[in-house]
């Protein structure tokens, strides 16, 4: 009897958590909270920038706790997003189960496109989980500086990164004289060694190098100009991160985009809404 009562209560909680009305309320609260976040974040971005380097737990313990007037919206955001994830999961799982039960009523392609919103919903959960694991578990190494010929070893591995050469592309045009001969594309040639295996790679801005599960990003470099300037010694500063969340949120974005395309196809080709122009 007690088990039955428990089951019944769980069923009620499950239904309440999966309510679409809850989705609406959560989305509205999220929109309001994020708008407050804009006000708090504006001109105080330095409070939040360390989140990317020290991770969520350390940030909460330092910047977060001691600046509550400006960070409270972020804590509320975390709570609302957690609730939204639970709500999305329950609601979508219920709908997918119902769709599977009634699958005989639809043709294959009609059924396929009916899954579109559910693909997007699951994708959202994957993206948010990816972000969370990124901020909780990413291992961020202190900025590593290398000069040509120098090398470094990745932690807990025998893998080495050797900075071979700096081969930048300069701005050649005369249109903006102040930019003449400034570096447009800093290209650092690396040799990545793991035991007997060797691989050459080019590290540049917006093009990180992946090696042994680590992402290697170009953070800064010198010199910035072909001639002149104070800092003439060649060097690269690298930001190196082992981020388990990246694959999740990348996969989530891909999945969400696929769901969005399916949704648009379903919307414009299958729904009985009269096609009209603007």
């Amino acid at each position: 009897m007690a088990v039955l009562i428990m089951m019944r209560r769980l069923f009620i909680i499950w239904n309440k958590l999966g309510s679409i009305h809850l989705t609406v309320i959560l989305c509205l609260l999220l929109a309001v909270d994020l708008t407050c976040g804009y006000v708090c974040l504006n001109r105080r971005t330095t409070l939040f920038a360390p989140l990317n380097d020290i991770g969520l737990a350390a940030w909460i313990d330092t910047y977060g706790r001691y600046n509550l007037a400006y960070t409270a919206w972020f804590f509320i955001l975390l709570g609302l997003l957690t609730l939204l994830c639970v709500n999305t999961f329950v609601c979508t799982t219920d709908h997918v189960a119902a769709l599977m039960r009634t699958r005989a009523l639809f043709s294959f392609h009609r059924l396929f496109f009916k899954f579109a919103p559910h693909v997007m919903h699951y994708a959202l959960i994957v993206i948010l989980s990816g972000y969370l694991s990124s901020y909780l578990f990413a291992q961020v190494l202190d900025t590593r500086t290398l000069v040509p010929g120098a090398s470094m070893t990745l932690p807990d591995t025998k893998a080495r990164i050797n900075f071979e050469d700096f081969d930048p592309v300069y701005y050649r045009s005369d249109r903006l004289p102040a930019f003449r001969d400034r570096v447009l594309r800093p290209r650092a040639r690396l040799l990545l060694t793991d035991g007997d295996r060797r691989r050459a790679a080019v590290l540049t801005a917006n093009r990180p190098v992946n090696f042994k599960g680590y992402g290697i990003f170009l953070k800064d470099f010198a010199p910035k100009e072909k001639e002149g300037g104070m800092d003439r010694r060649i060097r690269i500063d690298m930001s190196i991160r082992k981020d388990p969340g990246v694959r999740f949120y990348m996969a989530g974005m891909l999945l969400f985009t696929a769901g969005l395309v399916m949704y648009l196809v379903e919307w414009f080709f299958f729904r009985k809404v009269k096609k009209e122009a603007l």
Binding site: L34, T35, T45, Y171, L184, M253
Partner: protein, 258 residues
Amino acid sequence: MELINAQFVFKIAAGLYGLSLVAAFLPGRPRGVVWIFLLPALLANFAAVALRYWQAWPMLPMYLGPVALPFFLGLLLLFSSRKDGNDVIVRRMIFALTVIIALAAACFPKDFYLPFLKSCTPLAHLFFVFGVAGKGCFLVGAVWAMAGLHPNHRTLGIESQTALNRSLRWTVWGFSFWTLSMFAGELWSYLGWGTPVVWDDPAITTAMATWFFYICLLHLHLTGSWSARGRGAYAAAGALVILGLNCLPDLGPFRWPF
């Protein structure tokens, strides 16, 4: 080429948009007169956007949204010619919105340039283009919702339900573009900084707020708890969200345009 100032060209475009709006209100629906002003306005607007890009190269002009948005709205007006003309009120409202945004961009210009090192990826540009398309579609959706809520919508030749359906359709397009813009921004953030969110720009929060605002609207159509008019009012309020949260931060201090 250096002598041609992008801001000056844009002011010409804003003036031409204003003349198109006046022409749109002339009696007898003189479509030809409207096009006489709209086409050169679009050309001037396109030239202003292209010049800003070209003159800033190798940097990326960050606050180009209010300059590019009137162009997108103008393009929608250009490619949406209808023969029955029962959407004339909607077209006038979009014209008015285009002129308001263009005037705001002309009087409150904001210049900030991101170094090429950070913007040398197609994702930076996709982020911008999809963002502008998203804002444009959301605004058109809001205008259709306003038309559906208009007390004299029948005398204006607009069926309320049809208008709300069109509003929803534009909202769906807006949501799609907005999502793609956010994803492009997140990928750019990862490639450039190695993190999913760059906290240096507070606009990330308003972009997300807008996203959730429209997710709410799309879900409202499923609940049945709000009446069609209620949903229409919510969709119409989307114009305030877009203008207040996404266009206003892109404007700078007032500068006398002449």
